[in-house]
């Protein structure tokens, strides 16, 4: 994922709404997909995206450029998604369980079941690296952990998902 034109970024930091709008246009798709992977809920992904850009606008002056802009933006989006998930946890799981289609053994072979099978701690780096193409360093920046941690979580995520996906082949 490419970082924005530094001039656009500078103008946006100075409060140029047109420049910020360019950033929104450029990254809304990635932020939304990221939010959707997190929440598996379209309307919630809309909210997370909107709030992430609102927060990004508010804190843009504080962005010092010590990580990539995209890593910084994803970190904000992640925080917004976590807030939403925490906020709605009990309620939504009762109303629209995310795992509603993945519970029986035939669905163990499904990708989503496999994603459900790994903990959030492992799913997050996996999605950032595999789906969004971030490097380990960028992923570490987004998640606020060390690169070595990403390395071992990627390994464990892969192992767990493969186990979940191939459990029939191997178990029988």
């Amino acid at each position: 994922m490419n970082d924005p034109d530094p001039r656009t970024l500078t103008r946006a930091r100075e409060g140029d709404l047109g420049a910020f709008e360019d950033l929104v246009r450029q990254y809304q798709g990635d932020v939304w997909r990221f939010a959707y992977h997190f929440t598996r809920d379209r309307s919630l992904a809309d909210d997370v995206t909107q709030e992430a850009f609102l927060r990004a606008f508010r804190f843009l002056r504080g962005f010092r450029g010590d990580s990539k802009f995209t890593s910084w933006l994803f970190r904000i989006a992640r925080n917004c998604a976590m807030d939403q998930i925490k906020a709605r946890n009990v309620y939504v799981e009762r109303v629209t369980p995310i795992a509603a289609t993945t519970a029986d053994p035939q669905a163990r072979v499904e990708l989503h079941a496999a994603l459900d099978a790994v903990s959030a701690e492992h799913r997050e780096p996996f999605l950032l690296v595999e789906v969004f193409g971030l490097s380990y360093q960028e992923t570490a920046d987004v998640l606020g952990v060390r690169v070595g941690t990403i390395k071992s979580r990627m390994h464990r995520a892969r192992r767990a998902m493969m186990d979940a996906l191939e459990v029939e082949e191997e178990a029988r």
Partner: protein
């Protein structure tokens, strides 16, 4: 180098991370001799393929919304930070229509205008009303209601620590078949500058409008307007929340409501009923239109006073549920201690009238942009010219009158004819060129097969969050669907009266692939003849639940069976109960950190809370039971009853 180290290095290399030369050499050497690690590498690439080729969801364009919110933030700098109230639920545009269970009964006529006022009393001991009386009464009243207007007072507790109480006013207007308006005006005296929760929702046939403050992290949030043009008749995506007029969705199911007693509310004889919040959501449509509202727990109790003569909801209160789960939930939302006997939210009718509202009430404000649902209104006489076929469109269906016809999407070759009477509706969709791999319309391949009186079969699904009750009919040369808020029995009768003979699902629909497994819809008898183990059904199911469909599942190592058990009226709350069986001597490996061991009768089993799933082995048979809306004790009761007293012999 051991497997773990090798896999870790492999994993990094697959991700394009640079390895030290020595590590690379050691890894390649290990791979040459280790089949297991080579399998890991192949598996990782297969996984990548699966993840990257997963169908990406369509991404919405949010630039305008974001920039509006950003603009509002720059124009009105925040005076202070405020606790941001979390979202309660995925915000569906408006809640769905559901419908009542039993056939209509004649109830007292709705006469004139009534004005309610004065103190209310405690219910009398005992009750002459049964739950079915309430459900049937509301159902019968629904068809008779042509017009309605009312005003209400809304009181809310515990929005946030600095806003312990709020007071709002609500007005509602309705005119059959499809005109509705809801206004909410926020009279709260906020301690600081805050955008009031002022809401407006107008539905007028093919157009609808909604406005309210959008959720935002600040106290002053931008107003958001949305308009839907070329709206589908009785669109559930842009619905009129008519439960405020008559709670036909909330109180659709006699099995799930409790009659508490009778009394007098505001001078009127009234009956009081209780349902959990998760079923009463249609009585709180304002929560999803916009603004800031307190959260509610699914099991919070909603007590509703209904006018005995016409079934209008006169007053409803939310009382906190009890228990550790609710306490933990409340803590997360930063709610104070809420005693279970003290109402935290109330809606009170101030006056109710059956007068027809002025037409101008339903005027839709002019706005720049609108979402287009693509439904083009047509004269029935023109449909043949447009689509090349004469749709099946009797003057009345299920006792409802033909109301309007649309072509739902240009060039789709589909027609949609809507029928209505009072608050009841039925949509009849048709196409002559259906080539999908599932029934036409919002009906899935796991729908229940129902025989129609007069011959033929149809496929039925109960009401859900997104749809009313619906039926698909696959007939020679044509495919139809019906969607309605009519009770099941009336919907089935309406389908049976159509001049078509429903055929069983073609083979192409009954067979599907699920990853590496295949699933085939079969009859229970076929399933029994196809697997080497007995298929026993649970005898203890929630009221109203029955077997909807059966699938034979083959994941390449022997046959399994999945049974789908559903409520015949509405999916709200519990959802579909699935029971899967296959021959196995041990449970599959654990897949979630939250799994725990439970005893299922005398057998050891496993419970996965985030999937509401029980798994256990019983005499060489693996069983998996799950239902999104059931708690562990409810799942256990069902599990233990399997085979105990088989309902179908």
């Amino acid at each position: 180098m051991n497997h773990d180290q090798a896999e870790r290095l492999l994993s990094a290399r697959i991700d394009g991370e640079r390895l030290a030369a020595r590590a690379t050499a050691a890894l390649d050497q290990h791979l040459e001799t280790c089949a297991e690690c080579r399998a890991f590498e192949r598996g990782a690439y297969r996984l990548r393929e699966a993840v990257r080729f997963e169908v990406a969801p369509a991404v919405p364009d949010l630039v305008d919304e974001v920039m509006t919110a950003v603009g509002a933030q720059t124009e009105r700098p925040r005076s202070r930070l405020r606790v941001v109230r979390p979202q309660r639920s995925p915000r569906r545009s408006i809640l769905p229509r559901l419908a009542p269970v039993a056939a209509a009964l004649v109830v007292g006529a709705l006469i004139g205008s009534l004005v309610v006022g004065g103190p209310w009393q405690r219910p009398e001991a005992g009750s002459a009303f049964a739950a079915t009386d309430v459900v049937e009464g509301i159902s019968a009243a629904a068809a008779r209601l042509d017009a309605y207007r009312a005003s209400f007072a809304i009181d809310e507790r515990h929005l946030s620590p600095d806003v312990p109480e709020r007071h709002l006013a609500m007005r509602v207007w309705f005119e059959a078949p499809e005109r509705f308006r809801l206004d909410v005006v926020d009279h709260t005296d906020y301690p600081t500058t805050t955008t009031p929760t002022d809401l407006k929702l107008v539905v007028d046939g093919s157009t609808s409008y909604a406005s309210g403050p959008s959720p935002c992290p600040t106290a002053t949030c931008p107003q958001r307007e949305s308009v839907v043009r070329n709206r589908l008749p009785f669109s559930t995506a842009a619905a009129a929340p008519t439960d405020l007029v008559l709670p036909i969705s909330t109180l659709a199911d006699a099995d799930r409501l409790t009659v508490l007693g009778r009394g007098t509310v505001l001078g009127r004889p009234a009956v009081r009923v209780e349902v959990p919040f998760e079923r009463a959501e249609p009585l709180f449509p304002f929560l999803s239109i916009g603004g800031d509202w307190r959260p509610f727990f699914p099991n919070d109790r909603v007590r509703i006073w209904l006018d005995e003569r016409n079934w209008f909801p006169l007053r409803w209160n939310v009382y906190p549920a009890t228990g550790a789960e609710r306490d933990a939930w409340a803590l997360r939302f930063g709610l104070p201690d809420e005693p279970s006997l003290r109402s935290v939210f109330s809606v009170r009718a101030l006056d109710v009238s059956l007068d027809t509202p002025d037409a101008s009430v339903f005027d839709i404000p002019v706005t720049a942009s609108a979402q287009d649902q693509g439904a083009r209104e047509v004269d029935l006489s023109d449909v043949r010219r447009e689509t090349g076929f004469e749709p099946i469109a009797p003057g009345t269906v299920g006792g409802l009158d033909r109301y309007r016809a649309v072509l739902p999407r240009d060039d789709s070759g589909e027609t949609l004819v809507a029928y209505a009477d009072g608050l009841e509706f039925l949509n009849l969709g048709e196409t002559r060129s259906w080539n999908g791999d599932a029934p036409f319309g919002p009906v899935g391949v796991q729908a229940e097969e129902v025989p129609l009186t007069g011959g033929g079969v149809a496929y039925y699904e109960p009401a859900s969050q997104d749809h009313g009750r619906r039926i698909a009919i696959h007939a020679a040369g044509t495919d139809l669907y019906l969607e309605s808020n009519l009770p099941r029995s009336r919907l089935l009768a309406a389908a049976a009266a159509l001049p078509v003979q429903g055929l069983p699902m073609p083979a192409a629909w009954t067979f599907r692939r699920v990853g590496a497994a295949t699933a085939e819809r079969v009859s229970l008898e076929t399933a029994r003849a196809s697997v080497p183990f007995p298929i026993e059904l649970p005898s203890d199911l929630p009221a109203g639940f029955g077997l909807a469909s059966v699938e034979l599942v083959d994941a390449g190592y022997g046959a399994g069976v999945t049974l789908y058990l559903r409520d015949e009226d509405a999916d709200a709350g519990i959802g579909t109960i699935r029971l899967h069986l296959e021959a196995a001597s041990e449970l599959p490996p654990a897949t979630s950190a939250d799994q725990s061991s439970v005893d299922i009768g005398v057998l050891p089993g496993r419970f996965t809370p985030d999937r509401s799933q029980l798994e256990w082995i019983d005499g060489g048979l693996y069983r998996s039971l799950d239902a999104p809306g059931l708690a562990l004790d409810e799942l256990l009761a069902i599990a233990i009853s399997i085979g105990a007293d088989e309902p179908d012999g």
